[in-house]
């Protein structure tokens, strides 16, 4: 496709392509696109020549080509006015693409004739009209070409060659007419300063008609006077269709009137349009043609102008050498006559000719007129050399290269010169700014290509100039200046001047196209930011124009059918503009890239989307981002492009929400957009979706902007009877809890601790569980959640079903917990990885769970330059998505308490009273049996009794924690307990732990049935004022007061429990105590029955309590009985030591009869007995001692023995002695550990009393 701002655009023939017949829209567009792609260049060699054509014969220069620029829209008013000056603006060829005509031959011929007549009538101004018939069975006719068979690109090319043949014939006629005309008017507008003055006076500046040419005024005053200024296209044409048409009718070709009446009408309308300023325009126009000019000069000038126009026609017709010659000649004339606008035009044409010749590989020389006057002499000399020499001496290739080099060297200066000439004013007239701006863009494009190719017009550059083939290598990166020394800044400055302003009075289409052209040149130069600014302006402009067009369109429908003709920029042409510029998507993407806007990706893939974009969010200017996004929303709304609106609006909302997982503090939410704006954008999203749906676009749905919507999933604990406990893993749990890290010490493994032993949350199959989903809404708008589904992952494929979710509205700026009732259908391990959330007006999509606050971390090192942040950007840590691991277990039985034996709320007990307590439980579950595996009691005051077969006699089950019973589904079971009253206990919880029977998979899960038992415990018999006294050997006396604190008399008895049954004291005596009365009880106990260790004195108390028991019963009313809690007795340390006694004692005894005196000289056996309560560290060394002289006592052996270590408490060793003197023999003993080193003084044992033996 021939671009509007191509450097060789002036050489292109504009072809207006129109649909004829019932051709499908897509078919037509396909053909148009193929034409633009394949038939934009038609080589002259391919064109057949008619026999007697002298002018513009294609055989004159077969290497050259015709350039076609295919468009679908007609030339605008301004283009028409500029036409003879810039002929390429006007369509010279109208090509009707016909299809869907009748199959019948005659009928079809008639239809084609009608179409041709219609085209001739509608487009009488163009040089040639042709119909391209796509139906291949038809035969060609005059002005009709049938598309030949074969591949579309070749057949189109062939067809266009045929069309070009006719066109050239017509064009030569046109040229003859042009050459015959005396002069051509310069299109102009009053110089800006004057224009301003007049507009301020008249206050009616209109952008579309601000450049009325003097031609119009002349035309109004004398319709025949402008006959020469615009050659009639049909004047000498072979079939003169409407010879009566005069030129002004041609000009108003849009009006369908062909008769004189219509002509006067159109003139009238023209007059009314320009009537107001006719006076000032007249005054202005007079300046250019003042009486000071001589007739001769005017004639010469006219000749030069006609010559330049003709030269352009030759250039279009491919006669480039001839065109270059003509243009050089007439441009010289124009320069001499200081006709600066035509001078510039001529130079422009020369330049284009040279470029085309260079492209075609033809030799050429730079005419001296191209150089400024001061350089001309030197340059002309060298130029002449380079022209003349090659033919004689040098090979033509070298000459060609030399000319190219010279051209590329002189280009910047030449372009500047042409621009200066264009800019100058001819009297008070200056060229319309469109010409100037367009020329600037064209020249900048040329310079840009030159710059990109290193300042050389090499093959790449030449094909880029003409064929617009953009080479693959990228534009030079920033900082490297071109080898030619052509600075980018120079091109940029020139381009900046090309930017039109509102004051230039351009039509929106031209304005927008200019901006697009400037933007693309900037982009090719690698100045993306400048390009972006132009694009942004273009978008704003386009939006305004679209809205305006829409308004006019609406008015057109409502007001008058003819009103549409008065609109010079219709909706269609704007849509065409939009279609011809870069695609909308690309445009939006590019703007986003330049301004650092992170646009939502257009991809629809869920997997792709679930990964959080961790892009450089801090790139660019926040305010500009928001401005650009708003402009884009307006643009998409005006286009109308509902998908674009949604995409951009969501991006804006995401930018407003800063794309973070918000912290609770909320400090990270920056607000670029105001609350009102957020609400507006959110509304526009829902409105767009609503309208699209109304129109039938069901798939128009937005992607929700916030990836961090789901911030957590938790489960509400079910009520206590439904809670599942783990009966196995409790040990590891407590272990994990116990190792809480020191907050002051760094532990690198502490982070990993969490995912090591995370208990899975159980959910019972078929039982609903309440799930809380935490959603964040960082914006100031409401968000309506339509549905939430939980997404699970895991090998077992367990899925969670949400039951009956009611839509929820998320309040602005908050976290909100949404509760769902979920149940599982399967059994097994799984984890909840995310939610599928459907939000009103948005597509349902998957959201991962982001439990922790997160915001994109920026680079701390700055290592990139310019806008290419992509490669250099090192993203920070990605957001961590969480998962909730769960386990779905089989249906569990559910036990309930049916009845208890306790009437009312609580039970009254006396301290120590024992009462029976029955609980009846019922398995509610219809299909699962239950196993009671464990029964616990929080206070330890319950004892389970097993009912025996005959009912009454019950026995205790030793340990209730190991009890097990099976309960069938829907069965009942009664459990009997004994409850003991305990001071200070007001409630105990009976916990029955049960699980499902026969299930290996979830054996570790159990439920607890908890039965609370409240009680009031009153005091009964109190024991106090304990005292302990030493009594006989190995014994002590315990005495305490028993007081009846109960309001009724009760009797008690004290039982002493002995270990040895033969020592039983018989039936204890019952004593009655009246209320308030107290008795002192004294009992003697043997110390050796009380086992107490040395280390702990409290053991002595425990030992004591094991052996003494006080049982009581009441007599009045219900009989109550129980035991006195002797634990309340306060025993001092001394008492306890007394109870425990000495740890070890030794004593001496005579083994034979005790009291008889021993005979002198006889042998007596004395036994040393040792009682040890603790195991001493080793054997004892015991020695017999006597205060007497050693002669009075004879001893068998030595007086000391080793007492062996024994496991028993008692050990003994015997001494045999013989008294040698009569009287009383006194014996004592001492013992100490055999190993002396660790022998302390306390370890030495002495006999308490000496042993006296009477010796007779």
């Amino acid at each position: 496709m021939m671009a509007r701002f191509s450097p060789v655009a002036p050489a292109a023939i504009r072809v207006q392509v129109l649909p004829v017949g019932r051709i499908g829209r897509n078919r037509f567009q396909d053909i148009l696109r193929s034409l633009q792609q394949h038939a934009a260049l038609v080589k002259l060699a391919d064109i057949p020549q008619l026999e007697n054509q002298q002018l513009l014969s294609p055989k004159a220069l077969p290497e050259s080509s015709l350039l076609f620029n295919y468009v679908t829209y007609p030339a605008g008013q301004q283009d028409q006015q500029l036409a003879p000056y810039e002929l390429y603006r006007e369509p010279l060829l109208v090509l009707g693409v016909a299809d869907g005509l009748s199959e019948h031959d005659e009928k079809r011929t008639g239809e084609l004739k009608d179409a041709a007549a219609y085209l001739r009538e509608r487009h009488s101004r163009v040089v040639h009209r042709h119909i391209l018939l796509l139906q291949q069975q038809a035969e060609a006719a005059e002005g009709v070409t049938v598309l030949p068979d074969g591949e579309l690109s070749f057949s189109l090319k062939a067809a266009m060659a045929e069309v070009a043949e006719r066109l050239l014939v017509e064009l030569s006629t046109y040229t003859k007419a042009m050459q015959a005309s005396p002069t051509v008017q310069t299109p102009g507008q009053p110089a800006k300063t004057l224009q301003r003055a007049s507009s301020r006076r008249g206050d009616e500046r209109r952008p579309t008609s601000g450049y009325n040419t003097p031609t119009q005024n002349i035309e109004v005053s004398s319709p025949t006077g402008d006959e020469g200024s615009r050659p009639p296209s049909r004047g000498f044409g072979s079939p003169p269709p409407t010879t009566t048409n005069s030129f002004d009718q041609v000009r108003n070709a849009s009006s369908r009137a062909a008769n004189a009446l219509a002509r006067s009408d159109s003139n009238a309308s023209n007059r009314s349009k320009n009537g107001q300023r006719a006076s000032s325009q007249d005054r202005v126009s007079v300046h250019g043609f003042g009486p000071s000019m001589s007739h001769e000069k005017t004639k010469n000038r006219g000749k030069a102008r006609v010559g330049i126009v003709t030269g352009h026609i030759y250039m279009m017709a491919g006669q480039w050498h001839e065109a270059l010659r003509m243009l050089t000649e007439h441009t010289n004339a124009a320069r001499k006559l200081s006709d600066s606008h035509w001078h510039a035009k001529g130079l422009d044409g020369i330049l284009v000719c040279m470029l085309l010749l260079a492209w075609a590989g033809q030799g050429f020389s730079i005419p001296p007129v191209c150089f400024p006057s001061e350089q001309r002499s030197s340059f002309s000399h060298s130029a002449k050399l380079s022209v003349t020499l090659p033919t004689d001496f040098r090979p033509s290739e070298v000459a060609y290269q030399a000319a190219l080099g010279k051209l590329s060297l002189s280009l910047p200066e030449l372009l500047k010169h042409i621009l200066a000439l264009y800019r100058s004013s001819e009297g008070a007239l200056e060229l319309p700014s469109l010409v100037l701006c367009e020329a600037k863009v064209r020249f900048c494009d040329l310079l840009m290509i030159l710059y990109c190719e290193g300042g050389e017009l090499n093959g790449n550059a030449r094909s880029r100039i003409v064929e617009r083939i953009i080479p693959h290598h990228a534009a030079k990166s920033a900082g490297s200046t071109s080898a030619s020394g052509l600075p980018r800044s120079l091109i940029a400055t020139m381009l900046a001047e090309a930017q039109p302003t509102d004051e230039d009075g351009l039509t929106p289409v031209d304005h927008i196209q200019l901006l697009g052209g400037i933007s693309s040149v900037y982009s090719s130069l690698g100045m993306e930011r400048k390009s972006g600014m132009m694009l942004q302006e273009m978008v704003t402009k386009l939006t305004g124009a679209l809205i305006q067009a829409r308004k006019l369109g609406a008015a057109e429908v409502g007001i008058h059918p003819a009103a549409s003709l008065s609109i010079d920029v219709g909706l269609e042409s704007i849509v065409n503009v939009a279609a011809e510029s870069v695609g909308m998507q690309e445009l939006i993407d590019k703007l986003g890239r330049v301004y650092g806007v992170s646009l939502m990706s257009a991809a629809r893939n869920d997997e792709e989307r679930s990964a959080v974009v961790n892009g450089p969010f801090d790139f660019g200017n926040e305010q500009l981002k928001s401005f650009v996004l708003r402009a884009l929303i307006a643009f998409c709304e005006a286009s109308p492009d509902p998908k674009g609106v949604l995409r951009v609006a969501c991006s804006l909302l995401r930018a407003a929400g800063a794309n973070v997982a918000v912290d609770v503090s909320g400090s990270s939410v920056s607000s670029v957009t105001s609350k009102d704006e957020q609400i507006t954008v959110a509304t526009s999203v829902s409105r767009t979706v609503g309208v699209s749906r109304h129109l039938g676009f069901v798939d128009v749905q937005a992607d929700y902007w916030d990836d961090f919507l789901v911030r957590g999933i938790s489960f509400l604990a079910p009520d206590t009877s439904h809670i599942l406990i783990s009966s196995v893993a409790t040990a590891t749990d407590t272990g994990a809890a116990g190792t809480a890290g020191n907050p002051l010490l760094y532990d690198p493994n502490s982070k990993n601790h969490g995912n090591l032993a995370k208990a899975r949350l159980p959910i019972v199959r078929g039982e609903p569980l309440t799930c809380l989903v935490t959603l964040q809404n960082p914006l100031e708008t409401n968000v309506e959640v339509e549905s939430i589904k939980l997404v699970t992952g895991g090998e077992d494929g367990v899925e969670l079903v949400v039951n009956g979710f009611a839509p929820v509205t998320l309040e602005p700026l908050c976290f909100q917990k949404v509760s769902l009732s979920v149940s599982s259908a399967g059994v097994g391990d799984f984890s909840i990885t995310g939610c599928r959330v459907k939000i009103t007006a948005f597509r349902e999509r998957l959201f991962s769970i982001y439990a922790r606050p997160w915001s994109p971390a920026s680079d701390t090192l700055v290592k990139h330059h310019g806008q290419d942040i992509g490669e250099a950007y090192k993203p920070g840590a990605e957001a961590e998505s969480a998962a909730v691991s769960m386990i779905a277990v089989e249906a569990m039985p559910l036990l309930e308490v049916e009845s208890t034996s306790v009437a009312g709320d609580s039970v009254m007990l006396l301290v120590g009273e024992i009462r029976r307590f029955d609980v009846s439980v019922h398995n509610r579950s219809p299909d699962s049996d239950s196993v009671i595996s464990n029964i616990r009691d929080s206070q330890g005051i319950l004892q389970l009794k097993q009912e025996s077969e005959d009912g009454d006699a019950a026995s205790y089950v030793g340990d209730i924690s190991t009890f097990a019973a099976v309960l069938q589904s829907r069965a009942r079971l009664t459990l009997c307990f004994d409850v003991t009253g305990k001071a200070g206990v007001s409630q105990t919880d009976l916990e029955i732990v049960y699980k499902r029977r026969q299930s290996a998979s979830n054996a570790e899960h159990a439920r607890v049935l908890s039965v609370p038992l409240r009680m009031t415990v009153d005091v009964a018999l109190q024991a106090q004022n304990a005292d302990v006294t030493e009594s006989l050997e190995d014994g002590f006396e315990l005495s305490f007061d028993l007081r009846n604190a109960w309001s009724k008399p009760m009797s008690y008895c004290v039982e002493i429990l002995r270990l040895d049954p033969e020592a039983d004291t018989g039936i204890p005596k019952q004593v009655l105590l009246s209320p308030g009365e107290s008795h002192r009880v004294t009992r003697r106990l043997n110390r050796w029955h009380i086992f107490a260790s040395d280390s702990n004195l409290e053991d002595a108390r425990e030992g004591l309590l094991k052996h003494i028991k006080v049982v009581w019963r009441t007599w009045a009313g219900d009989a109550r009985w129980g035991e006195v809690d002797l634990r309340t007795l306060t025993l001092s340390k001394q008492h306890l030591e007394l109870i425990r006694g000495q740890p070890s004692t030794i004593s001496l005894h005579r083994l034979d009869e005790d009291n008889t005196p021993a005979k002198l000289g006889s042998f007596i056996t004395v036994r040393l007995r040792c009682r040890r309560r603790r195991a001493l560290s080793g054997p004892l060394w015991a020695q017999l001692q006597s205060p007497h002289e050693s002669r009075s006592l004879g001893l068998l052996g030595v007086p000391y023995r080793i007492l062996p270590t024994s496991e028993d408490e008692e050990s003994h060793v015997d001494f045999v002695l013989c008294p040698l003197v009569p009287g009383t023999l006194e014996l004592s003993a001492v013992a100490r550990p055999t190993i002396r080193k660790d022998c302390a003084a306390s370890d030495v044992l002495y006999t308490e009393r000496p042993l006296f033996i009477e010796v007779a």
Binding site: P487, G596, D618, F619
Partner: protein
């Protein structure tokens, strides 16, 4: 005669901006930009970054002089060693800048040329932005701002590309503007 001064970080992100007017020749020190200039100035400065990247390699000084212009705005640049740009946009007559923003429906009549002020404003710095006087004044201004900026970034809590919020820095820039521009 109005100025817009901006510090732009390495990611095209503005770190600081300030609007002010001239205080010389009886100026009130306030900016007189049009309302649309609020964003247009930012667009212009953003676009001129392309020129900074072009000019910076051809210039060995930190101060790059006048680098770009847009309509009657001209932009001077100072490039720090860390690729942070100080951009100063000056506009001799903000009311005469068309900006070319399309406002559908209303075609504003062009504002009167400041012909009356022409003589007065001809002596202003921004009237001829490339003149040696202007370049010198801007150079000194930039130098002073650079000193304040360096002090500001010496703060150990300042990260690269962080927005400068220090009121002291702002007042120093204002003082420098008053002194030199």
């Amino acid at each position: 005669m109005s100025y817009h001064f901006a510090i732009v970080g390495t990611r095209d992100n503005p770190l600081f901006d300030l609007d002010f007017g001239t205080s010389k020749l009886g100026g009130d020190g306030l900016s007189h930009f049009k309302p649309e200039a609020a964003h247009m100035n930012q667009f212009i400065l953003h676009a001129s970054l392309d020129m900074v990247e072009e000019v910076q390699w051809a210039n060995k000084d930190l101060y790059l002089k006048k680098i770009d212009s847009y309509q009657n705005n001209s932009i001077h640049c100072f490039l720090t060693a860390t690729n942070v740009k100080f951009l100063l946009l000056m506009n001799p007559d903000p009311s005469a800048t068309p900006y070319s923003q399309h406002t559908p429906g209303t075609t504003t009549s062009p504002p009167p040329r400041a012909a009356a002020n022409a003589k007065h404003s001809a002596t202003l710095l921004a009237a001829n932005p490339s003149s040696p006087q202007t370049e010198e004044a801007v150079r000194v201004f930039m130098g002073e701002v650079y000193e304040s900026y360096v002090k500001c970034t010496l703060n150990p809590f300042y990260r690269a590309n962080q927005i400068i919020t220090s009121p002291i820095f702002r007042s120093r820039v204002q003082a420098a503007a008053k002194k030199y521009l």
